[in-house]
Structures are given as C-alpha cells and as structure tokens.
C-alpha cells in the first residue's frame, strides 16, 4: 500500500552502474551514480488529474520523472559566489555546516575539472586555491547559452515567438522565430540554475534588456530546483519538522499521526511539496526586471 512508485527515465549508459542513489533532502532531489561520478537532476512531469495504467495495474500518482545529467558547476556556484577577496582552498569554499553532503559534489571529477570556468586558480606548492570570477562565470554562461541555442535549433524545438506561444513545440514555423527568441529562451533555461543577479548580468552581456517578457514556459513540469530552494530553505542533515502538514497532500500517508513518520518519510513529504515548484513560478517575478 505504501509503496512509492515512480517512473523514471534514466540514461541507458547508467546500466553499468550497480546502483544509483536518490539523495533526498527537503529542498531538492538529485541522483548520484554509485561513485558520484555523475550527478543527475530529477524533474517531474506533473499535471493535475492524471493517473497511470501500468500493465495490469492502476497507479493514482500520474507523475513521470525525468532523470537527466546535471552540470555540477551549477551546484557549486552558490558556494563559490562567496569566495571573493582572497583565494581559498576548495574544501574551505565547499563547506556548509547545514549540509555536510555538499562536499560530495567534489567527488564528481567534472566539478574540479571545470571549476576554472567560474574561478581564478592559483597553485601554491601542491595546493590549489580559488577565487570567484564573475567575468569568467559570465563567459562560461555565454558559451552555455550558445550551446543551448544550437541544440534548440538543430532539434527544431520551437522557442515560441516570445510571449504567448507555448514552448517546446516542434513546429515548422521556425522561420518566424528570431535569434533573440532563441537567446532569451536559452537564457531562461539557464536562469533556472542561477541566482537572480547573475541571470540579469548574463542577459546584459547577451545584449538584451530585462524588460521584455522572456521565456514563458507553458510546460507543466515541477522542478526539484537546485539553487533557489537551497537559499530559501536551509539544508540540513537532521530530520526536519514540517512547518505545515504537507503529509495531507501525500496520498500514501494515510496515518496522519505524523509523529510516527520516519525521517525519510518526512523528507519525502517535504520534497514532494516544498522543493518542487511549477516551472512557470520561476519566471513570473523575473518579468518585472531587476530590483
């Protein structure tokens, strides 16, 4: 009865990994493969009033989870943003008393290999020191935008002529779509992983003002959002008491005497409701421009 059933798309090259860990904290949901060499993001397609037939069974939870590779730099960026003024050891930067698990990110080889995109490096003896560089970060992000635009174009993904048109449509009206539409759309996708100020700076170096309504996704996806939720909610390794009774939304928690819930269940309940947001929620405030 209480079985948690989900559907996930997992890259097939993951099959050689023995297991994957689905790390649940109350803010976000990530997946590491067995040696943390790759980090994945978990997003849910979640629309109201959907359920599944799976073989000869019915499943009320109509969600579909997508597991896709995640650039670990987006996750270390919030820590590096604070590494200004002087050079720091990476272990000093990636320190979070509230979330000791953050150092796991360093185990992913891609993290240290690519950290030069966001920081100046200095080698003293056999130790490397880092200092955040906004200039480098913006350059890195600009390359990301270009790369994303290229993929959107080559896969013929419609970025919807700006405002009202829905996104993610395969369409033959690509001729009407301008370069700016592509850039703004890619910028919107990247902004999901960036603090607001950096998102504004990125748009500036792309040569656009913030005021045009950009990237309004019409896709009803819920994000396990890496950055913003981390800031809003302190990550912690301790079991957390829910501020609200999220469990009432949880169809599997029939026994609502919640003191009986395990820490994992509590986290699940929180992941379900607090860390996830409708994707459109992230874009509404941005349209108002920088504050």
């Amino acid at each position: 009865r209480c079985a948690k059933k989900t559907r996930a798309h997992i890259k097939s090259n993951m099959q050689n990994a023995l297991f994957l860990s689905l790390v649940l904290d109350e803010a976000s949901l990530y997946l590491f493969n067995s040696n943390a060499s790759q980090i994945y993001e978990v997003k849910a397609f979640d629309e109201n009033y959907h359920s599944w037939f799976i073989g000869q069974s019915v499943q009320s939870d109509g969600r579909l989870l997508f597991v896709t590779p995640l650039d670990p730099l987006f996750l270390v960026l919030p820590y590096f943003l604070k590494a200004t003024e002087q050079y720091w050891l990476v272990d000093q930067i990636m320190k979070d008393e509230d979330f000791p698990g953050c150092s796991t990110l360093l185990k992913c080889p891609r993290t240290l290999q690519s950290v030069h995109h966001i920081a100046d490096e200095k080698e003293i003896g056999d130790q490397k020191f880092y200092k955040y560089s906004q200039e480098k970060t913006l350059l890195w992000l600009k390359k990301k935008v270009k790369q994303t635009v290229k993929a959107l174009k080559s896969n013929n993904l419609n970025v919807g002529g700006g405002v009202q048109s829905s996104t993610f449509i395969r369409s033959k009206q690509a001729a009407e779509v301008t370069e700016e539409d592509y850039l703004r759309y890619a910028h919107g996708l990247l902004s999901d992983y960036l603090p607001g100020a950096l998102s504004v700076e990125l748009l500036k170096i792309l040569g656009y003002s913030y005021f045009r309504k950009s990237y309004k996704p019409n896709i009803n996806m819920i994000i396990y959002f890496p950055y913003k939720s981390c800031r809003k909610r302190k990550l912690t390794d301790k079991p957390v008491e829910a501020e609200e009774d999220y469990t009432k939304f949880n169809s599997d928690s029939k026994d609502k005497k919640s003191s009986k819930m395990t820490a994992a269940q509590k986290s699940l309940a929180k992941v379900d409701k607090s860390g996830m947001k409708n994707i459109s929620a992230f874009f509404a405030p941005k349209n108002k421009g920088p504050s």
């Binding site: 079985a3 559907r7 000869q56 896709t68 150092s103 890619a186 994992a264």
Partner: protein, 138 residues
C-alpha cells in the same frame, strides 16, 4: 554512497533492471483514486482503435471517448517503473526502490482532442534533449 552523511537517501537498485519485464503504460487524463490491480487488458485495451499511421489511437474509459498518442521514450533513455517493496523499520535506514518493470513507449490519452505537439506530456518528452544541451560541458 558515502558522504551524504545522515541525509536520508533512497537507493535505486539497478541490479533488478535486467530481470524487469516490459509493460504497457497508459497515461490517463483522469485521476483514479486507487492503486493496485486493474483489469486493464480485459476492459481497457480491447477498446483501443488505431486511427491512422501517425500513432493516433482512440479508446473509451467509463463511457468517455479518449484520444491517444503513442510516445517513445527519448532516445538514449529507458523508462522504468520503480517500486519500494519494504518500508524501512528505522528512521535512518536506507530506503531501496527496485525496478519493477521497464517501458520504451507510453500512450498518452486526452479527453476530446487528440494529443498535439504542444500538449505538455508530448512536450515533456523533449526535456532530455534540452537538459543535455544546458548541462553539457562547454
């Protein structure tokens, strides 16, 4: 996995993947407040009619006409149905979900109108392509 400290985590046991059977999946445009066995092949599957070669299908559910579209799992990905077989006894005990079955396509159903490219379920299938572009190293 080490280093996640005492953050509760769920392990996806992929060793169960090789034995997992393939199952047919239907995403229905209704909320069914029920989990468990259902006579899908007896009452639902027989009403499915293939409309044309574009993958369009029709069916009916509780007297309502449904229009469906077969959607392939994006290339390079596999679909998995995960199930947690046993609840952990202790709070800090690791939770394990196993692969119950796999799928390489699913049928997405709409009421009234056939699923179109701008339906969110159809669009969602493009997410892996987009995500890979955003997250690939530069």
């Amino acid at each position: 996995m080490a280093a996640s400290g005492s953050v509760p985590h769920v392990r996806v046991d992929l060793s169960s993947l090789s034995n997992a059977p393939k199952e047919k999946l239907h995403l229905l445009p209704v909320r069914i407040e029920c989990d468990g066995a259902a006579k899908v092949s007896q009452y639902f599957t027989p009403s499915i009619r293939r409309e044309d070669e574009s993958g369009g299908v029709t069916s009916s559910f509780r007297g309502r006409c449904l229009h469906g579209l077969d959607l392939d799992v994006p290339e390079g990905y596999i679909g998995m149905v995960l199930k947690e077989e046993a609840k952990p006894c202790a709070e800090d005990e690791e939770r394990v979900v196993r692969v119950k079955s796999t799928f390489s396509a699913l049928t997405c159903w709409n009421l009234e109108t056939p699923p179109r490219p701008d339906d969110s379920a159809v669009k969602a299938m493009n997410w892996p392509t987009v995500a890979e572009a955003v997250h690939a190293p530069v």
